[in-house]
C-alpha cells in the first residue's frame, strides 16, 4: 500500500507540474498579452511599458519559471484589473464555489443513492426504467437551459426562491440543483449496479436467512459494500463540478471562482486566469488521488497492478 501511495503521489505531482505548464502556455498562446491588457486605443508606448512591467519581453520559459517560482513561495501575482493580490481575490471567491460544489454534491447524492438503490432492487421494472430514463433525458438538457428553466419555474412563476446572488443559503438551492443534477446519473448507475451485485452475495443472503427485516438487510448490509465505489466516484465528480461551475455561477450571478474566471477572461486579467486554472486542476488532481486511494483500500488488486 505504501509503494502504491508513493507512486500515485509522484504521478499526481507530475500531473500538476504539467498542468501548470499548460495553464501558463494557454494564456500566452497569442504570444504577447500586453496588447490585450492595454486595451483598445492604447499607445504603442503604453503597450511597451506594460510589456516591460509584466516581463512579457523575456523569453517564454524564463517567464514560466519566474511565475512558478513565485507560486511556490505563495505569491500568485497581482490582478491588474482589480489592483489586489491574486491570493486576496481567490480567497474572496473560493468559499462561494466551495459551498456551491459541496451542496451540489449533497443534492446529487440525495437524488442518486435512493434512486440507485430502488432501481437496483427492482431491476427491469417500470421504476428502474424511469430512473434510467431520467438519467438519459437529464444528460440531454444543457446546464444553462436547466438553470433558466429552474429560474422561470421557481423564481419567476412560483417566486419561491431567489435567483441571483449568494447572500443566504436559499440563494444556493437552485444553483446546487442545477450543478448536482449532472453528477447524479453516473452516481445512480454505479449505486444501481453495485446493489445488483451485492444483493446476490453470500453475506446478504445470510443476513436475509437470519430473517432480518428487508430495510436492515438493504441499508446496513448491502449498501455498506455497494457505497464505497460511489463515494470515490463522488470525489471525482466534485472535481468535475468545480470545473463546470462556471456556467452555473454566471447564470445565477454567484460570485465564485467560475464567475471570476469568466470575468477575468473578458478583462484579459491573466494572472487571475492562470491561478484559477492551476487551482482547479490541483483540486481535481487531489480529489482523483483520494478516489484512487479509496478504491485501492477496498480492492487489493488495484494496489498490485
Amino acid at each position: 500500500m505504501l509503494r502504491f501511495l508513493a507512486r500515485r503521489l509522484l504521478v499526481t505531482l507530475l500531473v500538476i507540474a504539467c498542468t501548470s505548464v499548460l495553464a501558463f502556455s494557454l494564456v500566452h498562446l497569442s504570444g504577447d498579452p500586453a496588447a490585450a491588457m492595454a486595451g483598445e486605443g492604447a499607445s504603442p508606448a503604453d503597450v511597451e511599458s506594460i510589456r516591460r512591467l509584466y516581463g512579457f519581453d523575456q523569453p517564454i520559459h524564463t517567464q514560466y519559471f519566474a511565475w512558478i517560482g513565485k507560486i511556490l513561495t505563495g505569491d500568485f501575482g497581482r490582478s491588474f484589473y482589480l489592483r489586489q493580490s491574486v491570493i486576496t481575490v481567490l480567497a474572496e471567491h473560493a468559499p462561494v464555489t466551495a459551498k456551491l460544489g459541496l451542496s451540489a454534491l449533497v443534492f446529487a447524492l440525495l437524488l442518486s443513492i435512493p434512486l440507485g438503490i430502488l432501481a437496483g432492487l427492482h431491476r427491469d421494472t417500470a421504476l428502474d426504467r424511469f430512473a434510467l430514463g431520467l438519467a438519459v433525458a437529464g444528460q440531454a438538457l444543457p446546464s444553462f437551459l436547466f438553470a433558466l428553466l429552474l429560474i422561470y419555474i421557481f423564481g419567476v412563476q412560483l417566486r419561491w426562491l431567489p435567483i441571483s446572488g449568494s447572500a443566504t443559503w436559499l440563494h444556493f438551492v437552485l444553483p446546487s440543483v442545477t450543478l448536482g443534477y449532472y453528477a447524479a446519473p453516473a452516481l445512480m448507475r454505479l449505486t444501481r449496479s453495485g446493489m445488483i451485485d451485492v444483493m446476490q452475495s453470500d453475506h446478504v443472503r445470510t443476513a436475509r436467512a437470519y430473517g432480518l427485516p428487508a430495510w436492515r438487510v438493504v441499508l446496513l448490509h448491502a449498501l455498506r459494500s455497494a457505497i464505497i465505489p460511489v463515494v470515490s466516484l463522488a470525489a471525482v465528480q466534485l472535481g468535475f463540478m468545480l470545473g463546470g461551475s462556471i456556467v452555473v455561477e454566471t447564470v445565477f450571478s454567484l460570485k465564485g471562482l467560475g464567475l471570476l474566471a469568466w470575468q477575468s477572461i473578458q478583462r484579459s486579467d491573466i494572472e487571475v486566469i492562470q491561478a484559477i486554472l492551476l487551482l482547479i486542476a490541483l483540486i481535481y488532481a487531489l480529489l482523483t488521488l483520494l478516489a484512487d486511494l479509496l478504491n485501492a483500500l477496498i480492492d487489493p488488486r488495484i494496489r498490485i497492478s
Binding site: C18, T19, L26, L29, R123, L141, P142, L145, T250
Partner: protein
C-alpha cells in the same frame, strides 16, 4: 424469429437484427436525420437568418394571437426571423458536432491503439496524457483559448476536438489490448505483416463497434459544449445563429417572452436527446453483454 434461426445468424446480421428492433434507434436516428435534412436544405426555404428588421421586432410565434405566418416562430430583439435562425443553428450544431468528433476521434483512436498495442512505456506515457487531459477543466480551458486566439468556427472545432479525445483513447486502448494477443493478430504477425498493417487492417475493423458508440456520445458532448461556450459569449460569433447564442441573446426576455428561449432550447434538447438515444441503441447492439 425463433431461437434457432437467431443462433445460426452471423454476428453482424444478428447485430443489425437487434438494431432494427430497437425503439431508441428509430426515434433517435429519425430525429437526427430530420435535423440533418433541415440543416442541409432548410436554408433554401427560410428567410435570411441575419437580416434585421427593426420595424418587426419581437413578433410572437404564429400560435399567439399577435403572430403571423410571415414569421412562423416570430422574430428576435433585432427583428431577425427566428425560424431562419433556428435552421441556421441546426447547420452549426451539426457541423460542430461532426467536425470535432473527426478531430477528437482521430487523436483519441491513434493514442488508444498505440497504448493498447505497444503497451509498456508507450502505454504509460499515453495514460499520463489522458490523466493530464482529465485534470484540465474543459469549459474553462476552451473559454481561455477562444478568448486568446479569437473565435471562429474552425478555432471552435480544433479546441473542442483537442479537448474531447479522452474517452476515445480510453475505450480504444482497452479494446485494442484485448485484441493484441488474439490468435488472428499473432497469425498476422507470424506471416510478416507490418505493424501499421496489423493496426489498420486487423485491429481497427474489429474495434469499430465501440468506436461508433463513443463517437455518438462525443457528438452530443461537442454540441453541448459549443452551446455552452456560445451561451457564455465565447463560442460562435454573432451574427451567426447558434442555439446556445440564441438562448444567451434572449436571456433577459425570460420573464415576458419565454418562447425566445424555449424554441432554441427545445431544438437543442431534441438534437442531443436523439443522439443519446441512438448511442444507447448502438451500445445495446455492440456490447450486448453490458445490457442491464
Amino acid at each position: 424469429m425463433t431461437a434457432a434461426t437467431l443462433t445460426t445468424m452471423s454476428p453482424r446480421r444478428l447485430a443489425l437484427h437487434r438494431l432494427l428492433r430497437h425503439g431508441s434507434f428509430w426515434f433517435g436516428g429519425g430525429a437526427i436525420l430530420l435535423i440533418l435534412l433541415v440543416a442541409l436544405v432548410g436554408p433554401l426555404f427560410t428567410l435570411d437568418p441575419v437580416a434585421q428588421n427593426l420595424g418587426a421586432r419581437l413578433v410572437p410565434p404564429v400560435w399567439d394571437v399577435r403572430g403571423s405566418w410571415a414569421h412562423p416562430l416570430g422574430t428576435d430583439q433585432l427583428g431577425r426571423d427566428l425560424l431562419a435562425r433556428l435552421v441556421d443553428g441546426a447547420r452549426i450544431s451539426m457541423f460542430i458536432g461532426i467536425a470535432t468528433v473527426l478531430v477528437s476521434g482521430l487523436i483519441g483512436t491513434a493514442m488508444g491503439m498505440a497504448a493498447g498495442y505497444f503497451g509498456g512505456r508507450v502505454d504509460l506515457v499515453i495514460n499520463f496524457l489522458i490523466t493530464i487531459r482529465l485534470t484540465l477543466p474543459v469549459v474553462l480551458v476552451a473559454l481561455v483559448v477562444v478568448a486568446v486566439v479569437g473565435s471562429s468556427l474552425s478555432v471552435l472545432v480544433v479546441v473542442i476536438g483537442l479537448l474531447l479525445w479522452d474517452r476515445f483513447a480510453v475505450v480504444t486502448r482497452s479494446a485494442t489490448q484485448r485484441l493484441a494477443h488474439s490468435d488472428f493478430v499473432i497469425a498476422a504477425r507470424a506471416i510478416g505483416s507490418s505493424t501499421p498493417r496489423i493496426l489498420l487492417v486487423e485491429i481497427l475493423p474489429n474495434i469499430v463497434g465501440p468506436l461508433i458508440v463513443v463517437a455518438t456520445v462525443e457528438v452530443a458532448h461537442a454540441v453541448l459544449l459549443e452551446a455552452a461556450l456560445s451561451f457564455l459569449g465565447l463560442g460562435v460569433k454573432p451574427p451567426l445563429a447558434s442555439w446556445g447564442l440564441m438562448v444567451a441573446e434572449s436571456k433577459n426576455q425570460l420573464l415576458f417572452r419565454p418562447w425566445l428561449i424555449a424554441i432554441p432550447g427545445v431544438a437543442l434538447v431534441t438534437l442531443v436527446l436523439a443522439i443519446n438515444l441512438l448511442g444507447d441503441a448502438l451500445r445495446d447492439v455492440v456490447a450486448p453483454e453490458g445490457r442491464a
